[in-house]
C-alpha cells in the first residue's frame, strides 16, 4: 500500500524531470538508495520509523500516515495464507488429540453391527450429531475411514494409542502437502 504511494511519488517526479533518479529520490527522503529500491520492488517493507519520516518529507497528511502504519501490521497475502494453513493443520491435530469420538467412530466402523447413521453414532459415542459429523469429515479428509465409512487404518487393527499416533502422522503428511512442517523443536 505504502509502496504504491511511494512509487506514484517517484513516477510523478520522473515525469516532471526524466533525469530524476532513484538516488535523487533516496537523497530527498534521506535514506540509502538500496533500501528504497528494495521497498519499491516489494522485496521488503518500509521500516515503520522510516515510513513516518518519509511521509513527513512527502508532505503526507497524518490521517493518511495512520492508514499506512496500520497497513504495515497486516500480513502480506503469502504470510496470511501460511498462517491460515498453520491454524488449520494445528487445529486438525488438536481435534484428533482432544476428541476421542474420532477413535470411537473408527472402532465402531469395524463392527458388524455398525450403522452408517450419525444419530446412532452420536448415541454410541455420547456426543452431539454435529460433533460426529465434524469428526467424520475429518476422518474422511485424513483418509482414516473410506467412502463407505469403514476403518482404513490398516491391519492388524490398531488400538487407541496407535490410532492417535497414526492420525497425527496423517495430519503431518497432509500439512506437508501445504508446505507446513511440524518439528520436534516446535517450529512449523
Amino acid at each position: 500500500m505504502f509502496r504504491d504511494r511511494l512509487q506514484r511519488e517517484f513516477d510523478a517526479r520522473k515525469q516532471g524531470n526524466p533525469r530524476y533518479s532513484l538516488r535523487a529520490f533516496a537523497a530527498f527522503l534521506e535514506t540509502d538508495h538500496s533500501t528504497l529500491s528494495q521497498v519499491l520492488k516489494g522485496l521488503r517493507r518500509a521500516p515503520v520509523r522510516q515510513l513516518r519520516a518519509w511521509c513527513r518529507k512527502l508532505n503526507i497528511q497524518p490521517e493518511e500516515i495512520t492508514i499506512y502504519l496500520a497497513a504495515e501490521h497486516v500480513p502480506d497475502a503469502i504470510t496470511a495464507e501460511r498462517q491460515s494453513q498453520l491454524l488449520h493443520w494445528s487445529a486438525e491435530a488438536m481435534a484428533i488429540v482432544s476428541a476421542p469420538v474420532h477413535w470411537h467412530i473408527v472402532r465402531l466402523s469395524r463392527d458388524r453391527g455398525f450403522h452408517p447413521d450419525c444419530r446412532w453414532l452420536a448415541a454410541q459415542t455420547g456426543v452431539t450429531v454435529d460433533e460426529v459429523n465434524l469428526a467424520l469429515t475429518r476422518l474422511l479428509r485424513l483418509g482414516l475411514i473410506d467412502g463407505q465409512w469403514k476403518d482404513r487404518t490398516g491391519r492388524p487393527p490398531v488400538d487407541e494409542a496407535a490410532f492417535r499416533k497414526l492420525a497425527l502422522a496423517r495430519v503431518q503428511e497432509k500439512a506437508a502437502e501445504d508446505h507446513i512442517k511440524f518439528t520436534p523443536k516446535g517450529n512449523l
Partner: protein, 119 residues
C-alpha cells in the same frame, strides 16, 4: 448429462443458530430428521434451489458451497484434479444412497460434486 447446481450448503460454526436465523428470516423449513442429522433446508418455493447446513470446524470460516450434479462422482473428481482441483473429501457414500466429494477449485474455493440416490 448436464451438471446443474443442485443445492447450496451453509457451513456454519453455529449451525443451530444459523438454522434459527434463516428459518425466522425467510420462513425456510429446516429438518434434520435423517441419518446424517443433516439440517436440510426447504425454501418452500418451486423456484431456485434448496440447501442444507453443515457444521464448520472451529478453525474454518463460515461459508457457502455449491453442490453440482454428476452421474459419476469418481470420474468427476478425477477430471477436476486433472484441471487443477484438490480433493478435500474423497468420494463418499452417504447413508441414503447418494454419493459426494468435496474439492477445492484451483483458486481454493470449495465445491462439491454429488450424485443423487439411484441416479
Amino acid at each position: 448429462m448436464n451438471h446443474p447446481v443442485m443445492q447450496f450448503q451453509i457451513i456454519s460454526k453455529s449451525p443451530e443458530e444459523t438454522a434459527r436465523f434463516y428459518g425466522s428470516l425467510f420462513g425456510w423449513r429446516i429438518d434434520s430428521d435423517n441419518p446424517m442429522g443433516y439440517r436440510r433446508i426447504d425454501t418452500g418455493s418451486a423456484e431456485g434451489i434448496h440447501g442444507g447446513i453443515w457444521p464448520a470446524p472451529p478453525q474454518a470460516p463460515n461459508f457457502v458451497q455449491l453442490f453440482m450434479a454428476v452421474d459419476d462422482v469418481g470420474a468427476s473428481v478425477a477430471q477436476a484434479v486433472e484441471l487443477g482441483a484438490k480433493v478435500l473429501i474423497p468420494a463418499t457414500k452417504l447413508p441414503e444412497g447418494d454419493e459426494m466429494a468435496v474439492l477445492h477449485d484451483p483458486q481454493g474455493m470449495p465445491f462439491a460434486v454429488w450424485r443423487r440416490p439411484n441416479a
